[in-house]
Symmetry: C2
Subunit: 177 residues, 2 copies
């Protein structure tokens, strides 16, 4: 279960697996792209996604589905990064699940309006980490991965490897909860 | 010179070449993606871009750089499509040039606030087409390609094949005009 927090400047990622009733992370971090032509930054994000998909072999990629942005410029830039993330996932035949920020907060803390600090402390607690993961983008990616595992307990439903029972982005997630 | 009008549902494209002081189009059209998982639609757009880049072998890909959208949802969706367009261009080592809608209108009609119909009629006239090209997305893609050819007369400046003199998106375009 790979959580992704897409962005042009920084993309957070975090792999979370469930073992019995416990969660653990095997890999998390943040890729930074240097300022420069947008095409180069998108190639970097795309190649990092390909690497993560190949090395970590997740069943599902979970991303936040934001509906509100501070402004259209932010929405547009995040959109470009998100486009190549979803492209890489689809090409690797890995299903994509989308969750709203409220769903993520609700799943991680039990409270849909939780503050960022609370979410990060709960992420650390649930994953048995000594402190909230850094940077924030990695913590956000782990949170959306945890959200998916909490709201999709029957993993068989969301295995997308063979293309038949793929989890359509933004369609079936309600039936998982 | 390949103009692209990116979108999730419809992506317009148009190849324009200059011959002496005349312009002509060799190929233009619009790819439609069927409603469904966003990942599939992005793969379709990406693969069409790869096909266009390989078959038409443009020196430059020109896209509109929009700063204002009706709303963030539109910005976000166009952003996702644009992300995979710029990714494909960069991977093919083709330079990207970006122009604002006002620059496109100014270059095509001589008037930065021209109406859509005027732009389309001028596109037809400049390319020697009997009628404005259809659909609108294809006409828009041809318009941005014409804008690039009008504002970058010294094509050597923007040849991006060897990676040294690449035209950085959104940086050097003012020096072209």
């Amino acid at each position: 279960m790979l959580g992704i927090d897409p962005g042009i400047g920084r993309m957070g990622y975090g792999l979370v697996r469930s073992q019995g009733n416990r969660l653990r992370t095997e890999d998390y971090g943040c890729v930074e792209t240097r300022p420069g032509p947008i095409g180069e930054r998108l190639v970097r994000i795309y190649e990092k996604m390909q690497e993560l998909l190949q090395n970590l072999n997740p069943d599902v990629v979970a991303v936040e589905q934001l509906f509100f942005y501070r402004n259209v410029t932010t929405a547009f830039h995040v959109g470009q990064a998100r486009g190549v993330v979803l492209l890489a996932a689809r090409q690797a035949e890995v299903a994509v699940a989308e969750y709203t920020p409220m769903q993520v907060k609700q799943a991680v803390t039990g409270y849909g309006s939780a503050e960022k600090g609370q979410v990060q402390r709960m992420v650390a607690m649930l994953l048995g980490l000594p402190a909230p993961p850094r940077p924030d983008d990695a913590a956000d990616a782990l949170a959306v991965a945890i959200c998916h595992l909490h709201t999709a307990p029957t993993m068989a439903l969301v295995r997308g490897r063979n293309g038949d029972d793929r989890f359509p982005a933004g369609e079936n997630r309600r039936s998982q909860s």
